[in-house]
């Protein structure tokens, strides 16, 4: 029935040629003498700075791989696209990477929105996908690997610290999209676990410039601390107005995003001192692997580079994880690489030891709690080997390999 009707339409409209689709579905990558890695970051627009850093660390990782003989006897070649913070363009480039370049793997998408545009395209055209940004968790898709952190890994540590050291009354300011919404739910859960209370949660669009009413509301309820889940240009405005009203002397601040766009470089020490963050990677991590990495990175991209954070490190580690998968599989073919990665590959990386969790396609990794002092994050405590517990609660790709969605994790 299905075929006849399709053919009928074609036969009626065309000269009875039911040629079907051209040949995107056959095996690729292994045929040529190089392996294509497509990079889809925002290199212009609001995410320009972080996008360029992610592209640089990705480039370094590929150069390291090629420098040590390439993968399965072939060189890796990077094809780069600029998503321009434009979803329509994101969809176009995902199609281009899959169908025209026949990429073996696509790295990229910075916002959750662009990931959810790219991911179905790559699923449809059977191209392996790595997403390298910290996000709200819950993506469950056998074709996709999410190599950065999720709330259960980082937010829990922040709230622990805040409730133990500052008090049990919090206030959440979050970006108004699903990362902010879901993360603020996690904040509520973790605060309740400590017997505390979130006195207020407010959501903001990316371009809000006046926090006056919010500052008044915050002062009306007198929280012990404020957590900022703000994204884009707004965080800077908030920290500045918060300090201008003198509130940073009375109310503590922690954040899931601070430093990600090098906010500390623009703010004064008065405005940024004391802000607590929790990330998988900080330049200040003391380990031989990290020191060697920083030396290589600065030799390649210069010493005046802004300090690297979790996002560019995830791109770097993501490429190496994929390469380890290819090596283990002995081939860049999609299914073989997925199977190799699912076997639980571990690597020693600048951020510590990381392990691919086969059931969720997320990564078990170290996280570091740090406080900003004189524009530099000082590590307070390191929590080794944190599993992606949030996604694991809803996703098991070993049991349900055909799962393909982003679960909204019920937080209670």
């Amino acid at each position: 029935m299905h075929l006849t009707r399709r053919n009928f339409l074609k036969a009626g409209a065309t000269t009875a040629v039911a040629a079907g689709l051209p040949t995107p579905f056959i095996a690729r990558a292994d045929a040529a003498d190089e392996i294509i890695l497509a990079s889809l970051y925002d290199l212009s627009g609001p995410f320009e700075e972080v996008g360029k850093q992610m592209f640089d660390t990705l480039t370094l990782a590929v150069e390291e791989i090629n420098g040590s003989g390439g993968l399965v006897g072939k060189k890796v070649r990077v094809v780069s696209y600029d998503l321009q913070s434009n979803l329509q363009v994101s969809a176009q480039y995902a199609q281009q990477a899959a169908l025209k370049d026949r990429a073996a793997v696509v790295h990229g998408g910075i916002t959750s929105a662009s990931r959810e545009v790219i991911r179905p395209v790559l699923d449809k055209y059977k191209t392996l996908y790595f997403y390298d940004t910290p996000y709200e968790g819950g993506v469950c898709d056998r074709n996709t690997f999410c190599v950065s952190t999720t709330p259960a890994q980082t937010v829990e540590k922040l709230i622990d610290y805040a409730c133990k050291n500052w008090g049990k009354k919090g206030y959440t300011l979050a970006a108004n999209y699903n990362y902010g919404q879901i993360t603020s739910d996690w904040v509520k859960k973790f605060v309740h676990d400590h017997g505390g209370e979130v006195l207020g949660t407010e959501f903001f669009p990316f371009d809000v410039t006046n926090f006056g009413s919010t500052l008044a509301k915050i002062q009306a309820v007198q929280p012990d601390w404020v957590i900022s889940v703000l994204v884009g240009g707004t965080p800077l405005t908030f920290y500045r107005q918060f300090a201008a009203a003198g509130l940073n002397k009375k109310i503590h601040v922690c954040s899931t995003t601070f430093g990600g766009s090098n906010e500390e470089a623009v703010l004064t020490t008065n405005e940024s001192d004391g802000i607590v963050v929790c990330y998988n990677y900080l330049e200040q991590i003391k380990s031989p692997a990290n020191e060697a990495f920083l030396k290589r990175f600065h030799a390649r991209f210069g010493n005046k580079y802004p300090s690297l954070t979790e996002l560019p490190m995830s791109s770097y580690q993501g490429v190496h994880l994929w390469a380890a998968g290819v090596k283990k599989a002995g081939s860049a073919e999609r299914i073989k690489v997925i199977k190799a990665l699912e076997s639980g590959i571990s690597l020693d990386m600048p951020s510590g030891k990381i392990t691919m969790d086969g059931a969720t396609h997320h990564v078990t990794q170290d996280v570091h709690l740090a406080v900003y002092k004189d524009k530099v994050p000082i590590v307070i405590e390191t929590f080794p080997r944190q599993p992606p517990a949030d996604t694991a609660a809803v996703c098991n790709l070993f049991k349900h390999p055909n799962d393909n969605k982003q679960y909204v994790i019920k937080v209670s």
Binding site: A13, L87, Q88, E116, N176
Partner: protein, 346 residues
């Protein structure tokens, strides 16, 4: 039917059918997907070409109707799981919305510039409102509206009343191309009817038409609503191209783009905006791969240059140039006289 008329309808019809049938055979999947997008944008350009170029209505927010159509399709498709009704709603909802808005504007006798301002404001409101629906409490039936992220993984079109039989990319292309042809010839037909002639007369001199006894408000309202319906159909096809819809569809940049397409191609023509949409959409994608020039500088510059130097657009300029060479002197005078007529936008 005169020879001229046969040519003017026949040539685009033959070219259109040839593209409709030929391209899926000739192009590989990637190029076909890009072409599908350009065809969708061409339909969107036609909607404004009609409203602005023939209705004389300065709509700065055509993307509002494009976005409403897209969201209406996506939300109903999630709820119903079958695409026939969603397509109808995607066209009907923007039409009704435009009718209500048009009633407010045209029956309130608001001046031209304010029509521009209000349509722009409505777009801003829709953008802000939809953008702030990220919380899971904002849902319509089983569809989460999703705020900034929008709705990903929207079910694609299926053959009418057969939900399991979804359209493949080459089918989507053919549907889009067929829609473009229907819209193009549909508008040309409308312009030949009594309604279309009155509409153009209103564009030229609204007061005079009212003195003769026509209701200008009603005609403008109808044209505005019809344009919105076409934009809604384009929105529905856009969702089918990319399987997602997000609030950026309502953004000012999107509205600006539509205006630039029409402006560059030629206000008061139909083929011009189609070509403008295709050429500039292609350029947008190219700019991102070249890393040479900033897209904003390019499009801003294009808009300024055209307003100042080529205010009537490329197609009218080129055709007149060719016409005046090919035609006999006698015809030349006629063309010149037509051009000299007030607001002679062909």
């Amino acid at each position: 039917m005169s020879v001229g008329r046969v040519v003017s309808y026949g040539v685009p019809a033959v070219i259109g059918l040839a593209l409709l049938i030929g391209l899926p055979q000739l192009l590989d999947l990637f190029v076909l997907l890009q072409v599908t997008l350009y065809v969708v944008m061409a339909i969107l350009a036609l909607s404004l070409a009609f409203v602005w170029g023939y209705g004389g209505i300065l709509c700065l927010g055509q993307s509002a109707f494009f976005g409403l159509g897209a969201y209406a399709y996506a939300i109903t498709a999630f709820n119903i799981g079958e695409s026939s009704l969603p397509v109808v709603i995607a066209i009907l909802l923007p039409t009704l919305f435009a009718a209500a808005l048009g009633y407010l504007m045209f029956y309130g006798r608001i001046s031209e510039v304010y029509v521009g301002v209000i349509t722009l404001t409505v777009t801003l409101i829709l953008f802000n409102a939809v953008n702030s629906t990220a919380s899971p409490e904002y849902r319509i039936g089983s569809a989460l509206i999703g705020g900034y992220n929008g709705l990903p993984n929207v079910p694609s079109l299926n053959f009418p009343f057969d939900p399991d039989n979804t359209l493949q990319p080459d089918d989507v292309y053919m549907v889009a191309m067929a829609t473009l042809l229907i819209v193009y010839f549909g508008i040309r037909w409308i312009l030949r009817t009594r309604f279309g002639r009155v509409l153009v007369a209103i564009r030229e001199n609204e007061r005079r038409v009212e003195f003769i006894g026509f209701d200008a408000r009603l005609h403008k309202l109808a044209a505005f609503a019809l344009g919105a319906g076409i934009a809604g159909a384009a929105g529905c096809l856009f969702v089918n191209w990319g399987s997602y819809v997000s609030p950026t569809i309502f953004s000012m940049i999107q509205s600006a783009q539509i205006i630039i397409w029409v402006m560059v191609g030629g206000v008061g023509t139909l083929i011009g905006p189609i070509l403008g949409a295709v050429a500039l959409s292609w350029l947008t994608a190219e700019v991102g791969t070249q890393h040479v020039i900033n897209a904003d500088i390019l499009f801003g510059g294009i808009l300024i240059v055209f307003v100042l130097l080529v205010p009537r657009g490329l197609v009218p300029m080129l055709t007149e140039h060719v016409w005046s060479r090919v035609m006999q002197p006698r015809r030349k005078v006629a063309v010149a006289a037509k051009l000299a007529a007030p607001g002679g936008r062909a």
